[in-house]
Amino acid sequence: MTATPVLLTLAAALLVVGIAGVLARRNLMFMLISVEVLFNAAALAFIAAGAHWAQPDGQIMFLLIISVSGAEAAVALALMLRIERHFGTLDIDAARTLRD
């Protein structure tokens, strides 16, 4: 019962860390890691909510998020490799040719 606020606070902290990482880091690798942290923040929140209301849905969502993040990591890593080959760097600010 008393674990829920703690868990949610942890999830929020993870979220803030993830967002800060995505916004602040310029290296694509670290941005991906930050995105993974974000996924985990969301997943933790679902777990906490599921435990709070004693429902299985939270765990189902957790499994879904894990699989989605796995798929995302596969696609993102492939993109990262292409970007590294194309621009010769992982600095995301250099990869801004897709603009008006």
């Binding site: 967002i19 995505v22 995301i92 990869a95 801004r96 897709l98 008006d100």
Partner: protein, 624 residues
């Protein structure tokens, strides 16, 4: 008159038109002599034909009508190319071809050595042809064709020396001012055609008198619209300002177009359509007063001009005012007689002035001419005869008889104020032409003669002196026992002049006016030159004469009231203010696009931040 010759009427306008065509197409390949021969020959032949027709008409008084073909057929309106030679058009044709031939002859000497010799004669021939079409037309639409044709030639010939921009401006001014009158004229003609469905002049006049009653709206409107056209063409108030500037053209052009023929087309139009004007007595009265005002204003302006051609231009406005005054009181014959006589003496004055100024190296300033009696005798005596006729020197000049006829007719109709205006005009006329003659031709020689003039220019002067002094015998005053040939000639077309002269008093005063004008001017200029010099140097006189010099400030008035506001409006409209909402819409979308497209900068982290911020805002809105 036998049928074969009668069928040749079409040749009268066709010969000059053919000459114009020939000179226009082949003029560059012909030398000057051939150009002159073609131009003078075509007008000369035309003049000979007119003489032939004239003598026949004199004998039997049968008008000739020749219908050449139907111009076009538009839903029952079938204007024809038809020519009519009656007393009125015969008089005009005699003036146009007679004076026209002499001026062509004169031009061949005057324009010798000028660039564009063939072009000049092509246009001059075209003018004579168009003017003949105007006066011979039996159809109002054909008359209008000639009307615009002479306007075009006037424009072309005023701007003949087109390399000087001022001449082009003068030509445009003449065109625009006459067009200001022509627009109402067109509206009037269309109104007339649509109302009666015919375009032949006799049929129109017959139907107009048969169907309309006096002083109803329609005849008054029509008379006003037609009057506007006549006022523009004949340089009467308020459209008179183009004529003095038209003096930019060569002098023979001024003599032919802007004195003898074209400017009298307005008088001819009113005389030709007089049955219509009779239905609108108010408009007739307006014509008389416009004429009287133009007569006096222009005469006063002529009194202070220094350019000899401008003196004559104002004089033309003033004399046309006389004719309008006669038309306005219904003295059609008197107006036409004055037109007839005026054509001769004013052409003579212009030609003599042209000889004088040409021999002095194109000097047109009266004050730098002078002393021409022995040095340039042709010009001197020609100008003297013309001046005598213009001043209406009693009994020895033709001008006296025509002017006296007008004054007598006005007197007889009991129009006292008009009569006095005419009388004052006669006095002023004598005064200004005496002044021009005394300053420009007498006195000490100021400028050396640099060019000799030849017989081609002297002969027309000599010939024109005869009618200038003697044309009065065609219409002697009542009581002088002479025949009234002129009235008899036009009697079938124009109602006869009333058969009584001036009363005793009026006749005496009318004789006195020119003598008084000449005497006063002579006294001031020759006997007491100190008086006039003292008067001239005073401030009031300076301001007054500057005002009169610029034609009573009409140009400045039109500049301020019409031209400048129009130019300002045009400048404002040139930016398409009505388009602004629509172009503004386009500009606005473009700017918005620019704003939004700057957010598409390719920076992934910015996009992520925007997504995060957007989500936060959405959540804040959704969550209670």
């Amino acid at each position: 008159m036998n049928e074969g010759v009668a069928g040749l009427l079409w040749l009268v306008p066709a010969l000059p038109l053919f000459g114009a065509l020939l000179l226009g197409l082949a003029g560059r390949r012909l030398n000057d002599l051939w150009c002159a021969v073609i131009a003078c020959g075509s007008v000369g032949l035309s003049a000979a034909l007119v003489c032939l027709f004239g003598s026949a008409y004199f004998v039997d008084s049968v008008p000739q009508l020749q219908t050449l073909w139907v111009w076009f057929d538009a839903d029952g309106v079938t204007p024809r190319i038809a020519l009519r030679l009656d007393g009125l058009s015969l008089i005009m044709a005699v003036v146009i071809t007679g004076v026209g031939f002499l001026i062509h002859l004169y031009s061949s000497g005057y324009m010798a050595g000028e660039e564009g010799y063939a072009r000049y004669f092509a246009w001059l021939n075209l003018f004579v042809g168009a003017m003949l079409v105007l006066v011979l037309a039996d159809d109002l639409l054909l008359l209008f064709l000639g009307w615009e044709g002479v306007g075009l030639c006037s424009y072309l010939l005023i701007g003949f020396w087109y390399r000087d921009a001022a001449n082009g401006a003068a030509a445009r001014k003449a065109m625009i001012m006459t067009m200001a009158g022509d627009l109402p004229l067109v509206i009037g003609l269309l109104l007339l055609f649509s109302h009666f469905g015919v375009t032949a002049i006799p049929a129109l006049m017959e139907q107009a008198t048969a169907t309309w009653t006096d002083s109803t709206t329609l005849p008054i409107t029509l008379a006003l619209l037609l009057l506007a056209g006549a006022v523009g063409k004949s340089a009467q108030l308020p459209l008179q300002t183009w004529l003095p500037d038209a003096m930019a053209g060569p002098t023979p052009v001024s003599a032919l177009i802007h004195a003898a023929t074209m400017v009298t087309a307005g008088v001819y139009l009113i005389a030709r359509l007089h049955p219509l004007f009779v239905l609108a007595p108010g408009v007739l009265s307006l014509i008389a007063w416009l004429g009287a005002a133009g007569l006096l204003l222009a005469a006063v302006s002529a009194l202070v001009q220094t350019d000899i051609k401008r003196v004559l231009a104002y004089s033309t406005i003033s004399q046309l005012g006389f004719m309008f005054m006669a038309l306005g009181v219904g003295a059609w014959t008197a107006a036409m007689f004055h037109l007839f006589v005026h054509a001769f003496f004013k052409a003579l004055l212009f030609l003599a002035a042209g000889v004088a100024s040409l021999s002095l190296g194109h000097e047109r300033d009266l004050r730098r001419m002078g002393g021409l009696r022995t040095r340039q005798a042709w010009a001197f005596w020609g100008f003297l005869a013309g001046s005598a006729s213009l001043a209406a020197l009693p009994y020895v000049s033709a001008g006296f008889f025509s002017k006296d006829l007008i004054l007598a007719e006005v007197w007889q109709r009991g129009r006292g104020a008009l009569w006095f205006a005419g009388w004052l005009g006669a006095l002023l006329t004598a005064a200004y032409i005496t002044r021009a003659f005394v300053i420009g031709f007498l006195g000490k020689a100021c400028t050396r003669i640099t060019r000799e003039t030849d017989g081609r220019m002297h002969l027309p002067l000599a010939v024109l002196i005869v009618p200038t002094l003697a044309a009065g015998v065609f219409e002697l005053p009542i009581g002088a026992g002479g025949a009234r040939l002129f009235s008899d000639l036009v009697a079938p077309v124009l109602p006869a002049a009333a058969d009584a002269g001036h009363g005793g008093w009026g006749a005496m005063l009318a004789v006195l006016a020119p003598l008084l004008g000449i005497g006063m001017t002579w006294y001031l200029l020759r006997v007491r030159p100190a008086w006039s010099a003292a008067w001239r140097t005073s401030a009031t006189a300076g301001r007054l004469s500057a005002w009169w010099f610029h034609g009573w400030g009409f140009d400045a008035l039109y500049e301020r009231v019409l031209r400048r506001p129009y130019a300002r409006l045009a400048a404002r409209l040139s930016g398409d203010p009505l388009d602004r909402p629509f172009t503004g819409l386009g500009h606005g979308s473009y700017r918005l696009w620019h704003l939004l497209s700057s957010s598409q900068n390719g920076q992934l982290r910015r996009y992520a931040a925007a997504v995060a911020a957007g989500t936060a805002v959405l959540l804040a809105m959704v969550l209670p």
